[in-house]
Symmetry: C2
């Protein structure tokens, strides 16, 4: 089953807000419905959002062709809505812009759909390739820590960080994966633990703040996470909490590896300082399971992402290459590592 | 209102499991009831547990005197029960042992109660003194981050880290206190936010993992936390998540200050490696608000504390002195700082 797909002229997604207790799909016929589901995180994750951006534009084109509306104005309106839905996630905008580029090249609604489906297929292939590359880099790691969900549910199939973990486990069984629950929305305990259970990989869920103590105490061989946007200098924006794991990894001298497709690399953004950080509703912090837990009258602050500077990153693995970060070398570094520079490629793939 | 007190021959505690929605007290007539409430965290926090240990022993002595049971065997049984309730919290054992020492010196039940009440009064005085010392050290800080609850609810009155914050605010109004919610039991959003609201101090609740990004981004002038045990070399055991904040503080070059009474310093424990870390029920991680959120079949791992090495600590403030940690100096260091050494005082106070 795919996390996001095109079925009978509609976008079909797994509704991740209902996992792990129910596995339901939603069929989406209009762009504004898709935006609602992106905002509620029913569909989420860097790679899946790239495909959602492309399929969303194809959906707008299909509807315009059916109704006889003006294709370009419908595409422009859809692009604005989609990009605004998750401002930090560069892949979403990337998928949207790929379709605008195809349109600028003269594509009609049918050709736009073909382009979106090619992006979906490329995502599956990219996941496989980057997982292999990451597993090679981390060969020998027996206990791994990950944050949030960079799994099959964050892409079309396979995923990024969980793709690496799945491949490591296939090569030689892992002893344990520590899964950070990932407050406030608990994508780790809900989604990553669910995926690892289906894959038969031994794992334990921890509160996010337990990671540093486990890493410092030598219980973890490597940290592997996904990314929502990688700036041209190698700074990584990912789910809030990632930076703390990177600091712990440096403290313990273990590798901190980011697994992400090339489309996550945003050559137009110079450094982490230039990445806008989405601030989400304070209710996600103040309420738990729909019930207020915080003291009455107290307010919250809910940044959805943080930025890990390239100085804390051991390497970024993509479907095309292994990019060396600037962390002190906790890994035997293969010869073919690339240094990412502000002049590096931005939107060359997939 | 006091968090823990002796009223009409019983121990009265505020039931912190019902805060912030209800403010209820519990009157405790037997040591095993007290142990139950310590385990459920109805009463918690380093300073309050020290007083709970002492009052618990006084309660055992009072009951023995009433029933004619053998005082020494009743005290020995109570001591075993109390110390086992929270193995990481050194103050609990300290309070218990102070009463055993008094008994070894010939105290009867009435004199044991007098000793326990003196420990309660000393706790109130210690909170006031260390708050003043911490506020002097951090004078000028306008935004502060704290973790868990080291407030009035963690002592008898006033608290440690929140005592410092309250005093800072009294000296010059603080702009903002970032309150880490403190998963799994949310003592930050439930208790610390409640106390700050009552004190009229502006604050925002954040998920624990958002702290590093805020600290790295320059939003925080200082981190102030309490401690559950401080080893002879200055390593600090505190609520799980503290280490990540200390790593973030070092990364950002801001002070990381620990506020704790002298009774928290355990001269018999050489370093953080020797501090036992309490592992609590995995259900605290896997369930939220009594409802399972983690994937069915997944297991959890729930250490209640972590250890921050002295290399990350700027200073420890107690009621008696300011102890220099080994973090690079993010503060103008006053001349009277003491270096804590393995030969330093252990149980000199209160």
């Amino acid at each position: 089953m795919r996390t996001i797909d095109w079925v009978d002229g509609r976008i079909r997604i797994i509704d991740q807000t209902r996992l792990p207790l129910e596995l339901c799909t939603i069929d989406i016929a209009e762009v504004d419905e898709l935006v609602t589901h992106i905002c509620s995180l029913a569909v989420r994750g860097a790679m899946a959002l790239g495909v959602a951006g492309a399929l969303g534009m194809a959906l707008a084109a299909t509807r315009a062709a059916e109704s006889g509306a003006d294709l370009d104005s419908e595409l422009a309106a859809a692009a604005d809505l989609l990009i605004a839905a998750r401002p930090t996630a560069v892949n979403l905008g990337w998928g949207v812009r790929e379709l605008l580029l195809a349109r600028a090249g003269g594509a009609d609604a049918g050709q736009l759909l073909t382009r979106a489906l090619a992006i979906r297929d490329a995502d599956i292939a990219a996941s496989r390739a980057l997982s292999e590359r990451g597993a090679q880099l981390l060969a020998g790691a027996r206990t791994v820590l990950t944050h949030c969900n960079a799994g099959a549910l964050a892409g079309v199939e396979g995923g990024s960080a969980l793709g690496v973990i799945g491949r490591l486990h296939a090569d030689q069984p892992l002893e344990l994966v520590y899964v950070c629950e990932t407050r406030p929305l608990l994508q780790g305990s809900r989604l990553t633990a669910w995926e690892l259970g289906r894959l038969g990989i031994p794992h334990r869920v921890i509160v996010d703040s337990a990671a540093a103590g486990l890493v410092a105490g030598g219980a973890v061989d490597a940290v592997v996470v996904g990314a929502d946007r990688i700036a041209a200098n190698g700074d990584v924006a990912n789910k809030v909490g990632t930076l703390a794991h990177a600091l712990a990894a440096r403290h313990a001298g273990i590798p901190f590896v980011v697994a992400a497709p090339e489309s996550t690399i945003d050559g137009a953004t110079e450094s982490g300082r230039d990445i806008p950080i989405e601030i989400r509703d304070e209710a996600e912090v103040l309420d738990v399971a729909g019930r207020r837990v915080a003291a009455p009258g107290s307010t919250g602050w809910n940044p959805a992402f943080d930025v890990t500077p390239v100085q804390l990153v051991t390497a970024v693995v993509t479907e095309a290459r292994t990019i060396r970060g600037r962390a002190e070398r906790a890994l035997p570094v293969p010869d073919d590592l690339t240094e990412l520079t502000p002049a590096g490629p931005a939107t060359t793939a997939p």
